[in-house]
Symmetry: D2
Subunit: 495 residues, 4 copies
């Protein structure tokens, strides 16, 4: 695959911040709609609501009987690309799907070729697919497909699916998709379309979310419920793990083409990835996070004057912590709402102010106070250190970190961008070592059981058969990451 720069857009790089490295990154959001006029407009709105799942690029495909398939793929935010009347008019039709993405860690450079939905022209017509998740045997599949004459256009693992479909001997596209997905390992929540059908599929473990909604006579598929709200659609149900739905006109057909397994939904969706106004498994994400704060206050109480969230993701847990502990909640750190991902620090000399571009301490409030800082997670620990320094500079008497997730000690291979294992602070340090490293007065993570309780598992984690995928905390991977293992990744020894 040549490194390509086919457009002006790709010449404009999207720089991640040093302090943005300190979060895990959901890699994708998917959305599709059928049965509405100008479906692509709805997809644009849906993707806007899912922007937190992928900020680097977005794409929309639509189909209209008189205008065939049309596709627009762009770097940048949905609001900056898919909002111009003139552009949206190039995407006519009542059937449309879309995708937002964050770049994979490994890729050398952003390329428009890697932006989904991907499209394939088959002998029975075209199909487009948008994939959230990650195929853990993609390298092996790619090698095999190239050997047999397929030409890949992107560096994306998801492109395998379209080539497997192209080579299937099945007579229609949904069956070809089943064929293809049976060869695929890992996590996938897929929204796809043909000239007449909207298709949704979820891998047997159901690692990534996918929900079904209804709008008028039409149907919607979305990564999260918050994107149903924005278009005024009503929530119907989740697509089940291992389920495929094929929507033709008003008819929704459901099947379960894969071997059944016990579901293992990603618990980190509750902790950080999903939007707080989404509902997962019937639970408010916001309420789950607030409950994490409550559990954390019980597990790791401390005397202090203020409970402050690290904005914005620590906010619900901080509210819960404050309510459980009775210590007043306060906005000790203010976020600059005009901060964008594209801010480039002007010069070397100023670069080390880093996190100040994004956050500022509420100095008058903090001075002389014992402060509890609630954050959602600690990944590399780089931002945590900087925030602690800002708080101390402002005159805080004590700084106590409370983290709304267990220590992140293992990389995710199911559609999340994580640093290599050795970069994860918790992979090499104990909790006390981390506290020393961050030089704070105390540091406590919620326990794995506490987290399970917060998501509604009153008994905590079922050790022999965990209810969720929590590999990033536990190192117990529900699917062997075959490509990574063949590249030398060492899995945790069985206990």
């Amino acid at each position: 695959m040549p490194n390509s720069s086919s457009s002006l857009s790709s010449a404009k790089p999207f720089f991640a911040h040093p302090f943005d490295d300190d979060k895990l990154k959901e890699e994708c959001g998917v959305f599709g709609v059928t049965g509405v006029t100008d479906a692509a407009n709805f997809v644009a709105l849906g993707l806007h609501a899912l922007q937190h799942r992928g900020q680097e690029a977005g794409g929309i495909v639509s189909y209209h009987p008189d205008h065939d398939f049309n596709s627009v793929r762009r770097f940048g935010y949905v609001r900056d690309n898919f909002t111009k009347q003139s552009l949206m008019e190039t995407l006519p039709g009542s059937l449309s799907i879309g995708h937002v993405r964050y770049s994979t860690a490994g890729s050398k450079a952003a390329a428009i070729r890697d932006v989904q939905p991907f499209f394939g022209e088959f002998s029975m017509g075209g199909a487009a697919i948008a994939h959230n998740g990650n195929i853990t045997n993609a390298d092996a599949l790619r090698r095999e497909l190239i050997e047999r004459g397929s030409i890949f256009q992107s560096s994306s693992d998801s492109e395998c699916i379209i080539h497997l479909m192209a080579r299937s001997l099945q007579r229609n596209i949904p069956e070809r998709m089943e064929d293809a997905l049976r060869r695929v390992e890992g996590a996938f929540s897929i929204v796809a379309m043909t000239r007449t059908k909207l298709i949704g599929v979820r891998d047997p473990l159901g690692v990534r979310p996918l929900v079904l909604g209804q709008i008028g006579e039409g149907w919607v598929l979305s990564s999260e419920t918050c994107a149903l709200d924005i278009i005024g659609a009503t929530y119907v149900r989740e697509i089940e793990p291992g389920e495929m739905v094929v929507i033709t006109g008003e008819k929704v057909e459901s099947s379960f083409p894969f071997r059944r397994q016990k579901p293992r939904f990603c618990i980190f969706e509750h902790v950080y990835f999903s939007r707080p106004d989404s509902i997962i498994g019937g639970r408010s994400v916001y309420e789950t996070r607030r409950q994490i704060g409550v559990e954390l206050a019980r597990e790791a109480p401390v005397e202090a004057d203020l409970v402050c969230p690290v904005p914005d993701s620590g906010t619900p847990a901080a509210i819960g912590f404050s309510q459980e502990s009775g210590i007043p909640y306060a906005m000790g750190i203010i976020r600059n709402q005009y901060m964008g991902r594209t801010f480039i620090e002007p010069t070397e000399s100023i670069r080390n102010m880093g996190v100040r571009l994004k956050l500022n301490v509420n100095r008058a409030l903090i001075q002389g106070k014992r402060v509890i800082l609630v954050d959602d997670s600690v990944v590399r620990g780089t931002t945590s250190r900087k925030i602690k320094e800002m708080i101390l500079d402002a005159g805080a008497a004590e700084v106590h970190f409370r983290i709304a997730s267990p220590p992140t000690a293992w990389p995710c291979f199911y559609g999340v961008d994580t640093p290599q294992r050795e970069k994860l602070l918790a992979a090499t340090m104990s909790e006390e070592e981390m506290r020393e490293h961050l030089a704070v007065d105390s540091l406590k993570f919620i326990s794995l059981d506490g987290l399970y309780r917060a998501v509604g598992e009153a008994e905590g984690r079922n050790k022999s058969c965990p209810q969720y995928c929590d590999a990033c905390f536990s190192g117990e991977y529900p699917v062997v990451p075959a490509d990574m293992v063949s590249k030398g990744f060492e899995m945790k020894a069985a206990e």
Copy 2:
């Protein structure tokens, strides 16, 4: 002045949202620094921190003995324009000032000509000025200056100052500036520069803020303290109402060239304009707003299940209301952080979803609850209605609005973009009429005395000689808005 489109930039319009109409808009932020290497980089950071004071456009001027004055003025956010190494290198020197602005209501179209700082070449050298505020006799001054042969380049009231300076007979620029400002009525906080001097001035009433900071051996002038924090400068003091400071190298000279008056700082800076992490008159803006919430809970209690802020500006008052009332604080409305000012609703058919693009109700939380919504102000009432509808659609049992400012019944003429008086809800309706109009279970504004108490005036407002400019609430204008009066604006009859 011809309507000009001198650049691609100006071809890209910045659309205000219908629901953005429902806030008063600060029109400008100013920032200047001297005595640091690559001063323009510091100005860029400072303006980034002041972006909430003006999002439409920004400009920076710098001076270097070998490269003369250099200037860059652009539409759009600071982070999108003033962050490229190649651009910043065109602004060399250790002395620099900058400006961010929001467009004035009356101007037909955005024009790069109207973006400050303004520059004038005088016989003793050049000077650049950046102005926050509004000149209330600008029309009369402009007519007189044109009559005498001045050629205006912009439609901005601030350009008068530079022409008045050009015609002054004084021998140096600071004295010419005094000369000019003595002719000017209204509100002005000005940061200006010559080849060797950084100058700050505040009108005798001190309507708009201006603070002095120190960074290493250098000095900083800024609209707010939050912009000192971002560059690591230390806060020294406020420039006093009616004061002019002239900074030459490390030396700061202060004078009071205008007739002394009793100061009347804008109380709305406390309510909404300034950033919560800024400090005004020695008080934390955040703490003042939280205190407003406390006062509001005392003045207008109500039984309810949840206290929810209208994000983001209602947050501190909501925290205060919750703490005083004991009713739990909750994020009932979630803000889409990827919403930008430039989002254009895709098509007519979708346009009426309006506020949903920006805000979503936390449905699972709200259902069946009695909700108190805390907002900072009600201007036209359009957004308040939409938010109320969203909350009810989500199944709330009751909706109670609590507003952290008195009814906004009069336009501001001192540097704030306000609708015409007849568009202000409170100009034509009583509180009960507004409640009916918004169709909520209750609606209460903080009293003017309550607001004064929250800003630290234990006795409330001094009716005979108010401590602040509160014309937008009281209709008592400390400076007669001469141009507006001559256009037919009717001031409140003396009581």
Copy 3:
């Protein structure tokens, strides 16, 4: 294939002028170089010299052992895209190929996906190809390949070659290319590259040109010699019809993998496509065109005062006509050198000035004169009419058209963009009918034999076995255009 708009570039349409329709359009130029530092810079220069062969878009691929394959493809002129240091630095390495293209008539909209070189990743490594010509059985091949699981990314006929190569069972890329090209019918002059090899191939008829040059220790392949001149390379020889050269380091290996046929080079390359400073078959293109003018003056003399070229393509023939006839040569029509392909007539009301934007009559010179206008060809006749009107408006006494090619009565299917047959003036009218249609005093085309004499065939055209492909004049197609015939195109009945 979805209609795609993957980039800002593609949002900028390239409008052809009404009067540009009146030329046949060469569709491509190809260029490759190996054995020089920063080879892509040389390719950029070569493509700039070949810009007349394709103005819509261009692409360059390069290979560097440390940086792999890199590719840039853009709409617009070479000079506007491939001249920025920062861009060219993304194309490192000593081996590089490039392509310029004009859009195919049939394509709905310009798409960056259709811009060559095309790239394929095979199990033994990657290869890029750039193709000048047209594959006449591309539709059939595409159908077959899709049936077998290939996924096409473009609407280009040339993409078949890369898929055929992907499916070849040969072990190395040159042999896979032979395999692929044996399945292909039509015209092809190809420049290709692997990680170590520069490859050139020409179809057995040798319809399109391809030459070999040398630069230092390195080698060059180019559509025309003028592109050797620009980089200071020396001309070595033409690639022979049916020849494949594989250049590895300094070594050039030649083979003839196809069944030998009698060559049929495109005679229109002499008339119009190639640049006058190129050398084809050892003959100066300029001199051939001047000689056409000489033949034309002999075949179709007329009394007149001035011989004027229709600029710029008629110039050499006009010089020849003047020299043979003794009638003075003059610039009766002046071309606006700032005319670009992207000029859009401002408004409907002005649109009918058409050709005036590009050409102006030298009024003072023409007035009262009998004028001979020499043009290279008549396609639809639309421009000829307008030029005649301009000449008469300027007061010419008589207008005589002399055309440096025979009547263009048949479309080309070998890599030239021609109107459908019914749009060709000569397809439906006799010479006298055309004269009446154009309303000129006389109209004469050179005879087919005269044209053959001018290109050096003293005996004229060999009717039983023509020395050139002259299908556009004669309707005798050396390769059956299979796809077109299956779409209903009727070939000329055998005589």
Copy 4:
């Protein structure tokens, strides 16, 4: 004046080529029209036809009673800016003027502020002016105006005019313009407009051209007649030296407000600046240039095989030379028509190919031949050297240069961009020294008398009272260049 970068456009620099340095550059073209619907469209076409007079930037102002004055000023070609329907719709009205410009040698960087037309708002209404020429006492005027309180917005000499007008005590704009222009020295052909009037003025010497045309009921002012042709206007007459015409509706009023002087039209307009299809003083520019070739063949004959123009400006003289000498005319040098001003040579290593990007030798034609090269002028001699080398590399037996103007030994201060005197080859070398420097077999310039004969002065140049301004050849400046003299420029000693 701060160096400004107010727009994206100005971030895109326009590089002059090294080999473009070798021409004198006309600095401006002006055009205005009244009495037609959508006048700005006509101005765009007129400026397109005048693009050869200034390629760096262009501007258009229009006036419509309902929409006031509107203005668009842009860097780049007319065809790239003033052709979009959406842009042209921002310039409504039946009265419009425009300007194209080349940057002045002295300016540090291109700035949109320097692009004309300039606009001034006076107490009796606005006026816009577009100026071709140069004000030789602009520095002194600027100093005086600044001293008195004027603020300059550009670095252009032309801005003085608008400030002088602003300070005039006259009651209407035409009279204020007279007032202003009486203070001004140098060359000016001005097109200006008020809300109701189109105004044209020419300085008393009439150095730069300006013509009057008619279109329907409307009137046109243009630098050259070729711009009348493009909009279908008929030529009426030249504006006379020292004349001012004020056009109100259909009425044209003429006056002569300046002290009468003997006209001294710029003879270089005939040699190079004006387009060959323009008519000046009743003479075809093309025919004058052909006649220069005839004179040159008589004055400086030489035995040779071919007469070749240096394209494109040497073409008419080469035709004349060939016709007078009987030596065949041939296109020995081919110009790349896709060469633009913005081409930046890719890398240092390739930079020295210079002129090859633009010109290529017709190798097959030149080989072994004695070649006469006809060029319009020799300025620095840099291009002449490169062309000679290309010709010799291609195998020419002899190279003879014939130059269609006398040696250019003095800079122009009347609106032409010339190098400093010491950079002019002819300022420091005799004809024989230049021949040696260029290393050609012979080099001959036309004599000053020969040039005068070619423009129709049968007796040649009137030494005591020259009919034209020929200061660039003779050093006899009809207006003392006051600013330059005060900067140290030494005029030729009186003989």
